[in-house]
């Protein structure tokens, strides 16, 4: 679904992402793990087509993000880590705007908004101005706006931050449903327990380089994701855990069992 090949991005003298290659297959949830400043957000934003990059190729469902961005974005939904939304709109105005932009038909629009807004508990607030929303409500509105598009690829940057436990549980279910329907999910997180339990595949990035990726069971083995991650941070150039693939000889992650 998402193929990133030799992605490189510099900010001035600083290399944010260096020669990163990653594949996110359909039907799988892929967790993107790394320390602050490791290059996760840069990678996600580049894949979402909102950040230009220096080298490499990114394709979504066969569409090149650089040469055919509109087609690539049509099947994608991206949520940044701190979604700033239009505060001059009401919640419903915002969802209608997104629905118009993505051409969601009138017949399904109402039921999709109703379903997801109710599920995330913001159905009673859709008439209020987004400016009056709390951080969590904005996060939920942004999630609803992504889910009503029924995207083929959903990319989320730290989606669980700011969500209440009910909404977080609901989101896990929705991510799984999306993958069960043939879609793909790539999300970054610092909550390693969630990543280990939810993700079919794990990709770990350090200092802009992908240090390991593969099916969660292979990456984690008999250990825990936390231990693997901490070990890798101690020796990011070291050998990958058994069954996982170091970046230099990476294979595409596999669709896995449900979390």
């Amino acid at each position: 679904m998402l193929t990133i090949t030799h992605l490189t991005k510099h900010y001035g003298d600083k290399t944010a992402v260096a020669d990163l290659s990653l594949t996110v297959p359909p039907g799988a949830i892929t967790g993107f793990i790394g320390r602050n400043g490791a290059g996760k957000t840069t990678t996600l934003r580049s894949a979402a087509g909102i950040l230009d990059f220096d080298a490499g190729v990114i394709t979504i469902d066969g569409h090149d993000v650089r040469t055919d961005p509109v087609s690539a974005k049509r099947v994608t939904a991206f949520l940044p880590d701190n979604p700033d939304l239009y505060e001059f709109m009401s919640g419903l105005d915002y969802l209608s705007f997104i629905a118009d932009i993505y051409g969601i038909p009138a017949t399904s629009r109402r039921s999709l908004i109703e379903r997801y807004a109710t599920a995330y508990g913001i159905d009673g607030d859709l008439g209020s101005s987004v400016g009056s929303y709390s951080h969590g409500m904005k996060q939920k509105l942004a999630l609803v706006s992504a889910l009503i598009r029924t995207p083929r690829l959903l990319m989320l940057d730290e989606p669980f931050v700011g969500l209440d436990p009910v909404a977080a549980h609901r989101l896990k279910g929705d991510l799984r449903s999306l993958c069960d329907a043939g879609g793909a999910v790539l999300f970054s997180t610092h909550i390693l327990e969630v990543a280990q339990a939810l993700c079919d595949n794990i990709a770990i990035i350090s200092a802009g380089r992908l240090v390991v990726s593969g099916p969660t069971s292979s990456v984690v083995g008999d250990s825990s994701l936390e231990k693997v991650f901490l070990d890798l941070q101690g020796d990011s150039a070291g050998a990958a855990p058994s069954g996982a693939t170091p970046q230099s000889a990476q294979e595409g992650p596999q669709p896995g069992a449900s979390a």
């Binding site: 509109v70 974005k73 239009y86 009401s90 419903l92 705007f97 997104i98 109402r110 908004i113 209020s128």
Partner: protein
């Protein structure tokens, strides 16, 4: 004291880097200083025009010193107008308020630092208003040794008063905005107030000038009675009166201190007032959902931003309001003022052409495009991650601006055509010339905003009122209308006024076409790396 100075520097730097339009911190500060310099230049220009004209008019009767009473008043109005919205947004709704309140700093120190940032801007305006007035006076009257130092001291003191008034107005704006429907109330009230101020001053200007010529003594007596601090400015600078200086100090420092104390006391309540808006949930009927094309949705988004953002509405909607008021006036009286007919005959154009030029001038202030990209701010990711061609996003911004212009120009053109009894050619010119100017200025606004994009401003006020793109667009629009008028008048004699201005309109339309091509090519490339 060291803490206050450190905080003030941080606040001022915050204000400057927010005003600045460039991407690097150094160039942001540089461009911010440039914008401040532009404001100063505007104040110097306004003050020079009025000061030298008034001094020359009043000198023969020995009343040139009245300049030093009248110009401080104009300076105060200018400074308070500039400072109020900035105070409402910067002092009470700055993005750093949570951070500042969490620091172990007294609220009074915090309030003083916030006020000082606004005060420095006001000081620039007051100094740029008073110094040309002093120069104009010095050409007709004696300037003792203390004149300039005292005048500079007066500028500082009046800046304190302007800051106190700005912050009080800003506080009012902030409180009303926190009410339900507060943004709309502020928008409409602000627009009505502005129209009343501009209309009122236009009406009062002629009688004031007549009074200054025929009976300057009564103006002097009136100022001494009702606006005594302005008289103290004159008495301190010219007479060196210590009493006047002390009284002015008292009349300015006390209000400033009182406002600083008030803001310090109520700062937490005011800042947290915004959360009071998080009131009861509002349920909506999903059955009323309508579908639109992506382009229509983008245009609607621009409209919602325009009407839902006070500062945006008030600043870029004023020309539209004037056009609509003008249309109503012309429809009622069904004639242009006599002076217009006279001017039209002197410069050998039809009154309709003159009205078309006036409408063009009005439209140059309706430039919603100039701040529109910067206003996306940290929300730019929404459209950038959407399946939209960049030309569609930019085109929607332009389309909304043109739509807004059409709302003003069509009724005005109809009313002006009736009032001037215009023929077909002139009636067409009434629509086409302002629209061609308007479209070109809207395109220039978009182009300038692509050059000077500021996605990290502390608030919308800074973008709409003080960003480089907006200021340069405003000046470009004025220059464009001036050029169009000069070119049209130059060709009016050989071609006839209607044909000449028709030709000018054609050239402007071609330039507008070129502008759109530039936006679709260079503009799209320029938009790509923005985030």
């Amino acid at each position: 004291m060291t803490l206050l100075w450190t905080l003030t520097r941080v606040q001022l730097r915050g204000l400057l880097t927010s005003i600045g339009a460039r991407n690097t911190r150094k160039s942001k500060v540089r461009s911010a200083w440039l914008i401040l310099a532009l404001f100063g230049a505007l104040a110097v220009y306004m003050s020079s025009v009025y000061s030298f004209a008034l001094a020359a008019m009043l000198a023969p009767t020995g009343n040139a010193d009245l300049v030093l009473m009248l110009m401080p008043a104009l300076g105060l109005i200018f400074a308070v107008l500039m400072g109020s919205q900035a105070a409402g947004m910067f002092v009470f709704a700055g993005r750093d308020n949570d951070l500042l309140l969490a620091l172990p700093i007294s609220r009074l120190t915090l309030a003083l630092a916030k006020l000082a940032a606004v005060g420095i801007e006001n000081l620039l305006i007051m100094a740029c208003m008073l110094l040309p007035a002093g120069l104009a006076y010095s050409m007709h009257g004696v300037t003792p040794g203390w004149f300039w130092p005292v005048l500079i001291l007066d500028a500082v003191l009046l800046a304190l008063l302007a800051t106190a008034a700005s912050v009080l107005f800003g506080l009012g704006i902030s409180v009303i905005r926190n009410l339900r429907q507060g943004t709309t109330i502020v928008n409409v009230a602000g627009m009505v107030l502005l129209l009343a101020l501009v209309g009122g001053s236009a009406v009062a200007q002629v009688p004031l000038m007549e009074r200054l010529t025929s009976n300057p003594g009564s103006v002097r007596a009136g100022v001494r009675t009702w606006l005594a601090p302005l008289a103290w400015v004159r008495d301190g600078a010219i007479d060196g009166s210590p009493g006047a200086i002390a009284l002015l100090g008292l009349a300015t420092i006390v209000p400033f201190a009182a406002v600083a104390w008030l803001v310090g006391r109520a700062f937490v309540a005011l800042v947290s007032g915004a959360s009071a808006r998080r009131g009861t949930a509002v349920r909506v009927d999903l059955g009323a959902l309508r579908t639109r094309s992506p382009f229509a949705a983008l245009v609607r988004r621009e409209a919602k931003r325009f009407f839902g953002t006070s500062i945006y509405f008030l600043n870029t909607g004023i020309g539209l309001a004037f056009l609509l008021v003008g249309a109503g006036y012309l429809l009622v009286v069904r004639s242009l003022p006599n002076e217009w007919w006279t001017v039209a005959s002197v410069i050998a154009v039809t009154p309709a052409t003159l009205a078309a030029l006036a409408a063009s001038g009005m439209l140059t202030t309706v430039t919603t495009t100039a701040p529109s990209i910067s206003l996306e701010g940290q929300r730019l990711w929404i459209v950038k991650s959407a399946p939209l061609a960049t030309s569609t996003i930019l085109g929607a911004k332009l389309a909304f601006n043109v739509l807004l212009m059409a709302v003003g120009i069509v009724p005005f053109a109809i009313a002006a055509a009736i009032a001037t009894r215009a023929g077909i050619a002139d009636a067409l010119l009434l629509v086409a010339l302002p629209l061609a100017v308007g479209v070109l200025v809207a395109e220039l606004g978009l182009i300038y905003n692509l050059v000077w994009t500021n996605l990290n401003a502390a608030n919308d006020t800074i973008i709409v009122k003080q960003s480089a793109a907006v200021v340069v667009t405003l000046f470009s629009g004025m220059a464009l209308v001036l050029l169009a008028a000069v070119a049209g008048l130059a060709m009016a004699r050989p071609l006839g006024a209607s044909a000449a201005f028709g030709l000018v309109t054609g050239v402007l339309a071609l330039l507008a076409l070129g502008g759109w091509t530039l936006i679709r090519t260079w503009g799209v490339r320029r938009f790509a790396p923005l985030l």
